[in-house]
Symmetry: D2
Subunit: 338 residues, 4 copies
């Protein structure tokens, strides 16, 4: 079996998830190089991942490392130039979401991808690979709900992690760019259509720190799609019960709802509170398996020379919609997209 040699860039929280999957859980991949500007992360690579070929400079890794592909899990603002550099160096590229921090960057990445049609590029919208989301997509393709015409998506981070969100609020780009990109991608994916218009609003009732830096704690947006379909996104940061990601797709013959109860597992406790289902606490817990499955998909695409389901244009479009949503939220006006 041919093994794809991968170099990872970025070994933060999510970088470690990807690195462990590549190193230990994907039969046809091996992790052969790592790059980070954080010394402790390179120590981690050596000790926990058995990777001795480590770099502090991304371009140096591209030049010197024995790799077929790179997995980019760096800060969002670095994604686009790293994608471009890696592709130009002849490497297949997996990049975590978002594609870039603005549309201009994304367009640069698009060009790089177009320059190298022989190389695999995949963007990390891992929710598409989650067992429940993939099942929903398959059911829709089989016609189980007729023509899908509405998506309602909810993503609420746990109150338990709100301190981190407050800390980064001033620089996150606002709640929609920070939190809604996955939901935006899912709407486009399930509806098979592009958004043309957005209305949005937000509010802050629990942690005034968000509003102090121009952000909001909770927000919602409505989308109109080219074919008349509708989208609704609700994002928040203060779920007391855990990490709440829920999506509903409504079609002419039925609807599919994913994770109405974001259950931690299949146990239910009956006690003085009633019938209680404990909920998942974080995105790595909820999408644990999806992170593995998306990386497996990337590696399989590299092996088989095919393009993955999530492409560079998905990245540009979700970013563009994220910006339009942010403008709608900030101005209080309806904003045309694209």
């Amino acid at each position: 079996m041919k093994k794809i040699k991968v170099g990872i860039a970025g070994l933060g929280r999510l970088g470690k998830v990807h690195a462990n999957n590549i190193a230990y859980k994907i039969p046809n991949a091996e992790l052969t190089a790592a790059c980070s500007i954080v010394p402790a992360e390179l120590e981690y690579a050596k000790e926990k991942l058995g990777v001795t070929d480590v770099y502090t400079d991304f371009r140096e890794m591209l030049e010197k490392a024995d790799i077929d592909a790179v997995a980019i899990v760096t800060t969002s603002s670095e994604h686009c130039w790293q994608i471009e550099a890696a592709l130009d160096a002849g490497k297949h590229v997996f990049s975590d979401k978002p594609l870039g921090v603005d549309v201009a960057q994304c367009k640069q990445a698009e060009k790089a991808v177009e320059r190298h049609p022989d190389l695999t590029f995949m963007l990390g919208f891992m929710r598409r690979y989650d067992k429940s989301y993939a099942y929903a997509k398959k059911k829709i393709e089989e016609g189980a709900i007729g023509t899908p015409y509405m998506v309602k998506a909810t993503g609420i981070d746990p109150e338990a992690h709100v301190e981190g969100a407050i800390k980064f609020a001033a620089t996150s780009g606002g709640i929609f760019l920070d939190m809604a990109i996955h939901d935006i991608d899912l709407m486009r994916w399930f509806l098979g259509c592009e958004a043309t218009e957005v209305y949005a609003q937000g509010c802050t009732f629990k942690h005034p720190e968000f509003q102090q830096v121009g952000d909001d704690e909770t927000a919602m947006a409505c989308y109109k799609f080219e074919n008349g379909a509708m989208g609704f996104v609700h994002v928040g940061r203060t779920a007391p019960h855990g990490y709440h990601v829920e999506t509903e797709i409504i079609g002419t013959e039925g609807s599919i709802r994913i994770s109405a109860i974001p259950e931690k597992n299949q146990a239910m406790i009956f006690d003085v509170h009633g019938a209680v289902t404990e909920c998942v606490g974080s995105f790595p817990e909820r999408f644990d398996e999806a992170y593995l499955l998306e990386m497996q998909e990337f590696i399989d695409c590299v092996c088989e020379g095919k393009q993955p389901g999530v492409n560079v244009y998905d990245g540009t479009k979700s970013t563009a919609i994220g910006y339009a949503t942010t403008e709608a939220w900030k101005t209080g006006k309806i904003v045309k997209i694209g």
Copy 2:
């Protein structure tokens, strides 16, 4: 519209439920007399139910009151002679469960019913009239689960009411006679067959008071039916979450489960505990509507001269099975059911 005139005997907790249903919620019935040995209950009849024709003696009510029917909600040991007396006085009879406290009594009641084929007699196995149970029965009759061959029934009283159970443990006849009669009736009803053999055991882990008087806190029994079908009953008294009555009927083509979560209503709370469903707290809360529907059925049967779904033999048989179960539990042996 003809209205059936009803006299009620017994105005305790459940008697009040029946009396209010007859007085106010059943179009073709009116409550015209009441009998109780408790003065406060007769006061209640006058003030809350508008019944001025009250008695302390059951036979006197039969003789003097302007009634077509009686509803017997007295102490279990009084049921059988009151049924007999009422039927012999030409009254239609509704009696709350159990039919009697031993099989000999039940046989007496059977004879009385047989003497008066023109009169309506109904036994208060109200669960059969609960919306969910009636739905299950209808689905089974429609063939939704093929041939039913197994029933698993659970009935656990709330820990919140355990003090009352402890108080009556010495005289209740034991946990099976006290608590399993409804489950026994449901097994027979759903399987459409009679039990021939029973094995039982019990235990006490929380309130030793039960074992001190020869009772148990929790118990289970297995039944074999004539056609080979199987029954399982689990009864208990210490559910922390409320009143837990759950029943599953398994057939060759599917199964139906009723009240796996004994929800109080359709609201779910998401809070620091997770996703929480509050549960019903007592049998009057759980079977509120069933008590009304069974009484409506009784009155309709009287009006239309037909016999209700629950007959006197259902009472004798469930009592006989209750005694056999008690013997199995007490002796630790498998007991044949007559």
Copy 3:
């Protein structure tokens, strides 16, 4: 016990529900008169409700019938003048929703109510009296979810009844006035605050007949409230599984979701399709008990001389919001309310 004498106006589908409740299920009420322009409905009153004092003219009933109160369940466009006439005739008034078909009418009704502070007026927002909704309100008042700041409400009529909706689409006033009034009322009630702005859109994917008359099959609206809180309403007409009314209230410390699965009862069937919960088929089935409880509340208020929880201003405000929502939907613009 004093019994309130009630005359009913209108004996259509919902009128019959109210009439039967008044006649047979509310101890302190009696139905003594009925008014309808449909002969068959007056026949029904005589035969099924035992009401012999019947009228074809509303004003005549007010003048001649022996009634303390009227229950108005006529066509929406008749509500306001009937409310005014009844109050001016010294009768307590229950009116089904909506208060009126435009805001001017509602203001007239407000004046009539204000002229008669001694009389009880109640508007039929029965959802507030549903066991689950009332429980949610109580929990919120007890602080279970902190400060509520967002309501997401969904109301989808069953595809099984869509023919009726198509038939009335041209004259219904549009999907929001036709379907969203209850959801609008619930938002105001749960948030304890008034809406100031609305955005809306709609679409039609299954039955083009709706768009042919300027209506839509499905629609959604976003509301901004005075205190910054947010509301979202989604209404539709083509739920294949039944009548889907679902509401979520989100607060700073938790959230409450009502009827995520609009279960018909507490039975679950396991068969070749999986684990299946059958759903309620219509609003009378879903809100059966709520219709009784709201009427009981009205009668109790009359008896005790107190004002009910739903007042005339709730009617005007929900109508005003319904109109603003319709304008937003028709124009594609954000509309200020009030």
Copy 4:
């Protein structure tokens, strides 16, 4: 990182699951040898697992292969002698359940394990490693349900696979030995106590082929435990909805129920049937992750020189209870255990 070298014996359905986990998903393990009497399975090892060191003789693998440990996933009747041989050859041993096909064999295996206290031995009761079961155990240890005193376990194979069950019915040892071993182990584990008595019965309503060879389609058993606790096991083979494994543990302060709905994933479909949850179709699908986690535990135990949670005595005891249950079922009598 030290990698444990493992040789696998048996590459059938479950053998392949284990082999892939060892080869690709456990960082500190590598699959270096394989043994099978089926040529196609050795082909599989070479092509899919990259294992070139293959054997048709188990003892030869022990002698020649470069392995630290063996994973035994052969036919049940081979387990015990292979365990003994491997331990005596100085290899750590993981054996799939059951330990042996009779108690005498199990005792042999016990002796072998006792001879080699320095070697790790683990039995594959993988349910203990399932996320939900492990969570339940942890909650119980934390006191969430007080003292556990009753376990109700259900395991029903899918009707979709019944043909296989019919084919092996004559040689499977009967439904309890074939299907109840996991449930028996779970009862012991959750109650922390040994069973002393068993009552059992079975029935066959759909596929008479089972009874023709002395087996049953469905069966149930009741257990009494040393401390008075109670166990109930229900096994069957004809679930139309999929693979239904459900377990409830009841304690003095609460209860935990695992998989009341054996959901395939977190998607719910609303269609003409109602609200539908598709169910898992097989044990490999349901316990996919548990198989990985148990093998990871085995490898970690080998690395760290510690003994795993499931030991050889768990194997003997569950087998002994399985035999006693079978005797109770066959004879219709209560059987003492141990």
